[in-house]
């Protein structure tokens, strides 16, 4: 047996990172979830919520004799679509939301509508304006409208930074947390700790490879958003990249913490979902976190995903600099540091 010793040596951290890299790229499903899925999501949501020409307001006029003038006046108004219904059908249409407003033409003219529905309030304003003019009102001051639809204020512009954050979170929680538990379940961690391998190298390799993938991931998504949907990047691209790397390290740390103890992949998947689902809802991925009641705002802003998304959003859309996002950076640093330290203490090697 030639167990002749050579001391030719490759760096274990490099080899461990290479292992993670290979395992990752050889798993087509993982590649799809990392790269394909966010692009698909951006494409689908971007087209679903793309800006359409303004919808006309739907209005019913109760069919009574002598109300034809009223109906015709509304029919001439371009932003109104009018229906001619009997009283019962008109109420039903209002209840079902098919119309936003019902006009009872008898004097005094009565508008039926639900004031909690914004489109109904809009309908009331538009309809009243049209009917008053038809009745002969003259506006005392002339006005002119100039219509502006600008990149940076559309839904897709809001969505892309949210998707970036979402993606970095999923990559960290699943790519680190779940993968570690998977390796533990398969006793691969046990086998590795039976060698002189440095445990720090092992953990570091996860973080390194996450950061490496991010450097590919971020430009793809941002480039896609920029070229396909014209999403603006007003701030520094370098700052955006730095925020992305910080975010990915933070979520690698959280992933490490989630993966530190579980002995089954089911537990790990449950933990990852437990942590990620509330943040997907609350941290402003798909809609602004500002919509939640004020009492929750301090909590929402302390979440790592909120911090990541809001900082990236301000840099991309408002062109903010580092100082403007310092608060969010601090929140992320605290989360990352806390999770790494606790994860290292709790980690179950065998």
């Amino acid at each position: 047996m030639e167990l002749n010793r050579t001391t030719e040596h490759r760096h274990p951290l490099g080899q461990l990172s290479l292992m993670r890299f290979r395992i990752f790229v050889r798993e087509p499903a993982v590649l799809f979830w990392t790269y394909g899925f966010p692009l698909l999501l951006a494409l689908v949501l971007g087209s679903a919520f793309r800006n359409r020409p303004p919808e006309p307001v739907e209005v019913a006029v109760i069919a009574t004799t002598g109300a034809e003038d009223c109906r015709d006046a509304l029919a001439r108004t371009p932003s109104v679509r009018v229906r001619w219904l009997n009283a019962q059908d008109a109420r039903a249409a209002l209840r079902a939301g098919k119309v936003s407003l019902v006009v009872e033409p008898d004097r005094p003219r009565t508008y039926q509508f639900d004031p909690t529905r914004p489109e109904s309030r809009l309908a009331r304003a538009v309809v009243d304006d049209a009917l008053q003019r038809a009745d002969g009102r003259v506006d005392p001051a002339p006005v002119k409208d100039r219509l502006v639809t600008e990149p940076g204020s559309r839904y897709i512009d809001f969505l892309i930074p949210g998707l970036l954050g979402f993606n970095l979170m999923q990559g960290g929680l699943w790519g680190v947390g779940f993968m570690i538990v998977d390796m533990r379940v398969r006793k691969l961690i046990k086998r590795l700790t039976a060698t002189p391998m440095s445990r720090a190298d092992f953990l570091l390799s996860f973080v390194l490879v996450r950061a490496l993938f991010l450097i590919v991931e971020l430009p793809i998504l941002i480039g896609f958003a920029h070229w396909v949907f014209g999403v603006p990047i007003r701030g520094s691209l370098l700052l955006l990249l730095a925020l992305g790397i910080l975010g990915s390290l933070v979520f690698a740390g959280i992933g490490l913490l989630l993966g530190a103890r579980p002995k089954t992949t089911q537990t790990a998947a449950g933990l990852v979902n437990l942590v990620s689902l509330p943040m997907i809802v609350c941290s402003g991925v798909f809609f602004s976190a500002a919509r939640f009641p004020d009492v929750f705002q301090p909590v929402l802003h302390a979440l790592p995903l909120t911090a990541l998304i809001e900082s990236m959003r301000t840099v991309m859309l408002d062109g903010a600099g580092l100082v403007a996002v310092a608060g969010q950076v601090l929140v992320m640093l605290l989360w990352g540091g806390f999770c790494f330290v606790v994860a290292l203490r709790l980690f179950r090697w065998q």
Binding site: N4, H11, Q15, I23, E27, K187, R191, T193, A194, Q350
Partner: protein, 307 residues
């Protein structure tokens, strides 16, 4: 054989909750020998080995490996030993060569990957993913991973369990070559033929204790006889008359029959047959074999290794 012990453990105890897996086990493995822990599943073999490997913490007792303790010299010890765990799962989608290069990178010194591949006959599988290997090839790769640091001491936990006969023989040859270099091997198995073929000395383990220790030959000779007669009849058979026969050293009841350990087959067998005929019992089965470590285990515990 080197006279300094490669492994020495005293009064080893390991509790899992209220279950005592290892119950005051003593062991001394000499440098350069191949030592076998033989016992049924659940006897505490794997727990013992994993404590010796520094992967589990003992509840009580002392362990010394290559003159060091895990508490003080873990890192240095890891460089000097090689481990093949029971059911090793390596990364599915790494190739044989990538796996070896990875493991090799953890050790300061060791053989070249090329010579390792050759040693475990996986040279033509070097670019194959782990998942695509056969059971025997996976096990040889696991052993190769244990050898990447050119260890002085090799731990093999049930290296051939579940393998086909040809794969088992391939692994045996590999272990014999390692041993021939004067390195030490500690292996666990529940195959007595494996222990008899590979091991210089064997400890038979049952319920967390060593119940017999010696070379395979010594252990078999301790039965008194070296041949075993087993027979079954229609209905139960008493033991007493068989014990009284000349040349019979041990008698064990087995189902509808007896197992006798005898010195000389040609003298005792006719007596047995004659007795049964006189008693008017019809034989339903009869076999004889050279005594094995299995018979030693049966003799000590009344149970089979793979019950």
């Amino acid at each position: 054989m080197d006279r300094t012990p490669a492994i020495r453990c005293r009064a080893l105890v390991k509790d899992y909750g209220s279950l005592r897996a290892v119950d005051g086990l003593d062991l001394e493995v000499m440098g350069g020998e191949c030592f076998g822990l033989l016992g049924p599943n659940g006897a505490g073999k794997t727990t013992t080995v994993e404590i010796l490997e520094g992967l589990l913490e003992a509840t009580a007792g002392t362990v010394e490996v290559l003159g060091c303790t895990w508490r003080r010299d873990a890192r240095r010890l890891r460089e000097r030993i090689g481990i093949s765990l029971q059911e090793t799962n390596l990364a599915d989608k790494l190739t044989v060569e990538e796996t070896l290069v990875l493991f090799r990178s953890f050790y300061a010194a060791g053989p070249e990957i090329e010579s390792l591949l050759e040693l475990v006959s996986l040279t033509d599988k070097r670019a194959t993913w782990y998942t695509k290997l056969s059971g025997g090839q996976k096990q040889r790769l696991a052993v190769a991973c244990a050898l990447v640091g050119a260890p002085e001491l090799l731990f093999l936990d049930e290296p051939t369990t579940g393998l086909d006969p040809q794969s088992r023989r391939q692994l045996w040859a590999l272990i014999e070559r390692f041993k021939a270099e004067g390195r030490t091997v500690l292996l666990t198995t529940h195959y007595m033929d494996e222990a008899e073929r590979l091991c210089d000395r064997v400890a038979i383990v049952d319920k967390g204790k060593v119940i017999a220790l010696g070379t395979p030959r010594e252990l078999i000779q301790s039965l008194g006889g070296t041949e075993v007669i087993e027979f079954t009849c229609d209905g139960a058979v008493e033991e007493a008359w068989a014990k009284a026969l000349p040349g019979v050293h041990a008698v064990k009841s087995r189902n509808d029959g007896l197992a006798l350990t005898v010195e000389q087959l040609h003298k005792t067998l006719p007596l047995v047959l004659a007795h049964l005929q006189r008693a008017g019992r019809a034989l339903t089965g009869l076999s004889t074999h050279h005594a094995t470590l299995e018979d030693v285990f049966v003799n000590l515990t009344g149970r089979h290794l793979r019950d």
